[in-house]
């Protein structure tokens, strides 16, 4: 989906959610068909507060998520370092074992019949 269309859809979904939320919180009696003065004021404040809440929420989320991402990157780098270190040590061990095996293995003297002239 096109990003503009995606944004529009998100906006409309938010719009519907805000309507539902502010209606539920601001309409306390249905004794008349029109919005009362206090209801109108309540809806206005509700929308503004929701928008401010959304902005604040986004700001905090971005801050916290950035910190979490940085920590995650550090952990990944640390794990990569540890894995590399472990690999080096394993390689050293393998080389040591190979050297020890080479020293301990007796060299077979060549059989006379196998020598080519």
């Amino acid at each position: 989906m096109d990003s503009n269309l995606r944004n529009l859809k998100d906006f409309f979904t938010l719009y519907n959610k805000v309507t539902e939320l502010c209606f539920s919180r601001c309409v306390d009696n249905l004794s008349q068909r029109d919005l009362g003065g206090h209801e109108d004021l309540c809806v206005d404040r509700c929308v503004t507060k929701f928008a401010r809440f959304n902005q604040n929420m986004m700001k905090v989320y971005v801050d916290v998520q950035t910190t979490i991402n940085a920590k995650r990157m550090e952990e990944m780098e640390e794990n990569a370092r540890k894995a590399e270190q472990q690999q080096r040590e394993q390689e050293k061990e393998r080389l040591k074992e190979a050297a020890a095996t080479a020293v301990l293995t007796p060299v077979q003297p060549p059989v006379a019949g196998n020598l080519s002239m």
Binding site: L5, N16, T19, E20, C26, V27, L30, D34
Partner: protein
């Protein structure tokens, strides 16, 4: 006078827009139904028919809900325009 030809890409975008509009209207209707059911139908089902009071309540509820929907639309549009202007001022 010939009608202007719409490209296939534009037609597809237009169709997506129409589908989205229907989806959003459907979402609005579902939310309104839930909200008005909560406000107007008490959870004691003494009878299966809608009472006169419940019918009146539904009528008022729908009217208020749509009124609020329209007001919120205007408010959100105004706020987003304010934000855009603020962004322009900050960037210039």
């Amino acid at each position: 006078m010939a009608l202007p030809q719409i490209s296939t890409a534009d037609q597809a975008k237009l169709q997506l827009m129409q589908e989205m509009e229907i989806e959003m209207m459907s979402d609005l209707y579902n939310r309104m139904t839930n909200a008005c059911h909560k406000k107007c139908i008490p959870p004691r089902y003494s009878e299966s028919e809608l009472g006169k009071g419940e019918m009146v309540c539904i009528d008022r509820c729908v009217a208020k809900y749509l009124d609020i929907h329209e007001k919120i639309g205007k408010k959100l549009t105004a706020m987003s325009m304010q934000d855009e202007e603020l962004m322009k001022k900050m960037s210039s």
